[in-house]
């Protein structure tokens, strides 16, 4: 697809007829981040004339502080952020006023109150003025450059509840030193490389390093550094790179706000190995030996790396299940084993149905899934029947599979937690629990057999990253869909009239991890108001909600409150909790535009809800004070 005359005409026709959703969808289909600059500019112009009210975009405020001109980038960014699900409002600092805009407390930056502050610097912002051979001087340059950024970050974090995106330095293509630049620790190349490493090391929580140097190398530095437009109008980046740059930024911002993909659904024959296992048998498939065999091995290694950092892998194959599993169990060159796969779906049903089933089993929304299949017909079917699922085109040559998927930047992340490390096992546990459920006659009997132990804790630096992640990623079990940054949560926790709580759950299949966060406010009328309540859907229907509600009753009592008050604010995705408070015994006290308010009075001797989740004993986890204290 390309943004050619016909497509532009179609899009304009949609806009003229007021079909803005169709116009946006057609525009999305017609442009890729790799299209040349004139197309990026055209897409940005078309997007500007689409009314965004019906597109279901989440608003986001971004402050961009740059030492170069960024007008064209901002236009492209608005479109690529919309493709990621955001309606961005920008505040652009006057040209080259990064430090003054931050250091002046009266700056319009602070009035704008951005959620994201992007420090868009380039290699030109690192001033290097040392004599050849001066290694100590080089060290000083690097230290000073990092420390300037650190003080700007901390000033921003004092004044704003925002996430900071900081460009690292795009190391130039040439600096007059030739090959020796790599070895001379005082060369511009060496200094900037070290600066990039030290900058990453210095970045605290809440600061995301934007890998400008990596971007500058993707198409080659000789392209990136076309100097014409630096001299003409101070553009730091060659214009053909703008699409890719804007796309990468939109994906990073998406990762911060929870729109990154979570699960990769894989076909088997000719996707993980060459040939058809059912026909050729375990000795016949191409894996390990030969050019194609080696390519499949490397592709699997890449998948395994994704899995190890928290991406869930699932299999969706038209195969006999026994046959399909054989290579995983017996082939010496298989890099993936059955333990790496959270759901293994091998049957003769239609793949669209199987993918819906996988999404249900894992309790992951379809929009979190990426489907990879070498067969164009299967890709087409899934695109048509489950349009929420991302389906990248796959080239014929397995050597090119990785690149074909990687370039879409589906799996961006801005952190790594214990949850990421163990995710596959968490989700496999879920699949086993589903199996167990089928054997029991009553639900109560099943829930009892799980031996669930719940656990309540507050906010501490150990749990903060996961709590923030959950707050921003949960869409379904999310009563108010409020999004808070790490800074917000820390702030709330310091207030005497607020409570920031987390809950985790353990059962006989293992830990489910930190699965719920509540932010509550003690109001002057002696009610505990539930400002935010999110829970991971993988523990739904386990009476964990009841357990949490009981704990909230205790929290309210301890704070001298006589009632719990909760709100439900409908969103496109949180229908499953529309009647949650009703189910928990709250009374409806207000309703406006489908937004409902609920109240639960707390007696002197409170009536607790029935739950199969037992309270963890206080001394169960010695040495983890903050983790195991009971509120």
């Amino acid at each position: 697809m390309a943004l050619d005359k016909d497509r532009v005409a179609t899009i304009k026709k949609h806009i003229a007829a007021g079909r803005h959703r169709e116009a946006f969808a057609a525009l999305n289909e017609s442009i890729t981040p790799w299209c040349a600059f004139p197309e990026q500019a055209r897409a940005a112009r078309l997007f500007a004339s689409i009314a965004t009210t019906d597109l279901g975009l989440r608003p986001i405020r971004i402050a961009l502080l740059a030492s170069s001109t960024v007008d064209q980038l901002v236009d492209a960014l608005k479109f690529w952020l919309a493709a990621e699900g955001f309606e961005a409002k920008f505040w652009i600092a006057p040209y080259a006023t990064i430090a003054p805009s931050i250091l002046n407390d009266q700056s319009a930056l602070y009035e704008f109150d951005p959620q994201i502050v992007w420090l868009f610097e380039t290699f030109r912002d690192i001033r290097i003025d040392i004599a050849p051979g001066d290694i100590a001087g080089a060290r000083k340059v690097i230290e000073a450059a990092v420390s300037v950024r650190q003080s700007l970050w901390s000033r921003l974090q004092q004044n704003l509840k925002c996430t900071i995106i900081q460009n690292n330095a795009d190391v130039p293509a040439g600096d007059g030193m030739g090959n020796f630049a790599a070895q001379a620790l005082w060369s511009q190349r060496s200094i900037l490389r070290q600066y990039n490493l030290d900058l990453a090391h210095a970045a605290p929580s809440g600061v995301v390093i934007f890998d400008f140097d990596h971007l500058s190398s993707l198409n080659g530095k000789r392209t990136w550094f076309d100097p014409r437009y630096w001299y003409h109008s101070k553009s730091a980046v060659e214009f053909s790179e703008i699409g890719q740059l804007a796309f990468q930024a939109a994906r990073v911002i998406g990762a911060l706000k929870g729109t990154a993909k979570k699960c990769l659904v894989l076909d088997l024959d000719n996707t993980l190995w060459g040939g058809v296992i059912g026909d050729e048998g375990i000795e016949g498939i191409e894996l390990g030996a030969g050019a194609a065999g080696e390519a499949f091995v490397d592709f699997q290694r890449w998948l395994k790396a994704l899995q190890r950092r928290g991406i869930i892998l699932a299999v969706c194959s038209k195969n006999d299940a026994d046959n399909a599993k054989k290579p995983f169990q017996k082939h010496p060159d298989m890099q993936l084993n059955l333990d790496d796969i959270a759901v293994f779906s091998a049957n003769w049903n239609n793949k669209a149905e199987n993918i819906r089933e996988i999404s249900k089993t894992l309790n992951l929304g379809l929009e979190s899934l990426v489907f990879v299949d070498d067969n164009p017909a299967e890709r087409d079917l899934v695109r048509k029947l489950v349009p929420e699922v991302a389906v990248p085109e796959l080239p014929e040559d397995p050597a090119e599979y990785r690149m074909a998927i990687e370039k879409h930047l589906y799996f961006e992340t801005t952190g790594f937690s214990d949850e990421d490390r163990n995710r596959t096992h968490l989700y496999q546990g879920n699949a086993s629990r589903a199996g167990l459920q089928a054997q029991f006659k009553s639900e109560a009997e099943y829930l009892k057999s799980l031996g669930m132990i719940g656990h309540i804790g507050g906010l501490d630096s150990f749990h903060l990253p996961r709590m923030t992640q959950l707050v921003n990623k949960s869409n379904q079990f999310n009563l108010t869909t409020k999004r808070y940054s790490e800074g917000d949560l820390k702030n709330f926790d310091e207030k005497h009239d607020m409570r920031v709580l987390h809950f985790s759950l353990l059962d006989r299949f293992g830990a489910n991890g930190l699965i719920s966060v509540v932010v509550a406010v003690i109001r002057p009328d002696k009610t505990l108001f539930i400002d935010l309540w999110v829970m991971s859907c993988r523990v739904l229907a386990r009476t964990m909600e009841e357990f949490i509600c009981n704990k909230l009753i205790d929290t309210a009592k301890e704070a001298g409150c006589t009632a719990l008050v909760g709100e439900y604010i409908p969103s496109a995705k949180n229908g499953i909790v529309a009647r949650l408070y009703d189910r928990l015994g709250f009374e409806l006290v207000d309703e406006e535009n489908r937004r409902t308010t609920w109240r639960l009075s707390i007696e002197a001797v409170p009536t607790y809800l029935t739950t199969f989740v037992a309270q963890q004993e206080a001394d169960d986890a010695p040495g983890r004070g903050a983790d195991s204290h009971t509120v």
């Binding site: 600059f37 004139p38 500019a41 001299y231």
Partner: protein, 90 residues
């Protein structure tokens, strides 16, 4: 159609016509008729930011490249055509 480079030479009226399409697409106005004396003053939306888009789109349309100094010096459509013709003769 006049092929780029090669045996057929780009004529002034050809170039003008192709540039007209570039202008119409870029400024989203099918009523634009470019002429030699036309400047940024005459076209809605032709400012310093869209000027760059205009130059880059023109470069791609004609398969030519302007220098940094030339990009800044292009004042009207006539000068753009002159430069395009000079570059594509090579």
């Amino acid at each position: 159609m006049t092929p780029r480079g090669g045996e057929l030479i780009l004529t002034r009226s050809d170039a003008l016509q192709r540039l007209n399409t570039v202008f119409r697409d870029l400024f989203e106005d099918d009523g634009i008729e470019v002429h030699d004396k036309m400047t940024a003053e005459d076209v809605d939306g032709w400012d310093s930011v869209t000027h760059i888009t205009l130059v880059l789109t023109t470069e791609r349309e004609f398969g030519v490249k302007f220098s940094a100094a030339e990009v800044g010096a292009l004042k009207n459509v006539g000068e753009m055509i002159d430069l395009i013709l000079a570059r594509s003769k090579k």
